[in-house]
Point group: C2
Chain length 319, copies 2
């Protein structure tokens, strides 16, 4: 009988499910639509059936230690999803209580960036590290902060919103209503905004100038930069510089051993990493210089969300 | 026999010593010059004699549980003072090792801002709080961050340098070599710099305009503001606004239950508190609004450094 933690990643569109062993291997995986049914209870019925079906088809015997869930607007302390704009369930949903009742298993939940941090700590590059920061560079910018070997949840379970730290006074308007948040510069949308600013500033012909605001994506900028487009390379330099400057501040606060980058934009490799490292080092206090390693997550991008969610269960229930 | 922790605050000029009971009362206090002798060993001999003398004169019997030390550039993990610009001992001094050998007592050391945070947690307004931030507004700006009931020391023992978070791109030159650090705006020197900027901008006659840069202190600005000087009040508003905006970022990171202000500038009361609170609330993410209390330290300013240092000992050795 194989001991596993179930990881469930609840996304706006799909829910990914994985049975993950102690080494972080996904032994069984399945998925379903997140928008099934009207209520969370309908969704939960489908989730249960989906998992039972996958178990039956696998013909394996599993010793399940618990369920870890990654979800937007998740409150770790209460086990609730609260007012999630990207999910159809309104108000406050008592997720872990209902999941535990349904499955007869202990369950624990946090947001996806925190789950990624725990995943890195349990299975990835942060094994054995007591102090590190995970920055997720996706549609938005999220973070998970680990100090003294523990994830920082804060007084209400919502700590780690480094994507909404202000990096520019009177800067870009953010979806949160504030201006100048890190997220407006270093997310996938942020780098697109920078592309349009740079094009407006330079008025040069580039491979990006034929695309509309609706058409252009971070991937186009990545491709252009790889094909030697100077403007595209500068767009990455600007993005990395803003990220690195912000990281220097995060280091002053928490003095982490390492900072991990995760999510879509981190796929750009050195295009984003090099200017980030350089700007961070230039802006570090002397005592922190040449101490903090910026690196990409060691988790496999495709399964990272599920593996991270399962790591929550391994971290809490494998005593 | 009264159980006490010895608190030692090593300042640039004086060393303050206190015997502090479990309730935070200073039962015995003494002090000496920090610049006695040539080496740290000379200083330690004098420290030992000073404490023995005070004990003898008090005619009390103490059960001493250990020694807590607050000092600049203190490394909590190693118990060392490292390259402290304001102390005469050069290089790396193995303070806790030597103190423990000399006194035959366990000892622990951190910097003054961290000691203030522990003091607040053990004896002050943060009793029972698991997540809070202490900001010290003195000659410089320091901080102690507590999450999950533990002080954040980071990977090297030097975490909590919130005074060197950048609040203004290409802002004021800081003693650390960077530009735009919080410390350059919200320390005692920072508010003086703001005063000169505001006078330069307005070119109005005020009670401050008769003082030279060498003469003007934060206390003059405080007195002028209390006497109804509009410019002085605006200087406090600007200072509080910059502090409050920075606090909003710290809340996004750590979601503390409260933020405590300590040190010289906090003596200005509502002049600094009101604009700080207002700017913080205006810049908080929605999920954090109306949750975080900004308040002054509950510790008595005169004995706070020694009480904070003793709290380190109470926190670590009273098991």
């Amino acid at each position: 009988m194989k001991k596993v933690g179930i990881g469930i990643d609840i996304g706006g569109t799909n829910t990914q499910i994985g049975f993950v062993d102690k080494e972080g291997n996904v032994l069984l995986s399945t998925k379903m639509s997140t928008s099934i049914g009207e209520t969370f209870e309908d969704y939960l019925d489908e989730l249960y059936n989906t998992i039972e079906k996958a178990k039956k088809e696998s013909n394996e015997d599993f010793d399940i230690l618990g369920i870890g869930i990654g979800a937007p607007n998740a409150n770790y302390y209460k086990g609730t999803i609260e007012f999630a704009a990207n999910l159809r369930w309104k108000g406050v949903i008592e997720v872990t209580k209902l999941v535990t009742e349904k499955f007869g298993l202990p369950s624990v939940m946090t947001n996806d960036a925190n789950a990624a941090a725990i995943g890195e700590m349990v299975f990835g590059g942060a094994k054995g590290m007591d102090d590190f920061i995970m920055i997720t560079l996706g549609t938005g910018v999220g973070s998970g902060i680990v100090t003294g070997g523990k994830l920082v949840y804060g007084s209400d379970g919502f700590a780690g919103e480094l994507g909404h730290v202000r990096v520019e006074k009177n800067g870009r308007l953010c979806g949160c209503g504030k201006r100048g948040c890190l997220e407006t510069y270093t997310s996938a949308t942020g780098i697109k905004r920078t592309a349009f600013e740079v094009m407006a500033d330079r008025n040069e012909k580039t491979s990006l100038s034929s695309l509309s605001y609706d058409e252009l994506t971070a991937f186009h900028i990545y491709e252009a930069a790889n094909n030697g487009d100077h403007l595209a390379r500068e767009i990455f330099r600007k993005t990395g510089t803003i990220l690195g400057e912000a990281l220097a501040d995060f280091v002053a606060a928490g003095s982490p051993q390492a900072i991990f980058l995760f999510g879509g934009l981190s796929k750009a490799g050195d295009l984003i990493l090099k200017p980030t490292e350089q700007a961070m080092e230039e802006n570090l206090l002397h005592i922190f210089k040449n101490k903090v390693k910026v690196q990409f997550s060691h988790l496999d991008g495709d399964s990272a969300a599920v593996v991270g969610a399962s790591a929550l269960a391994w971290n809490e229930f494998d005593k």
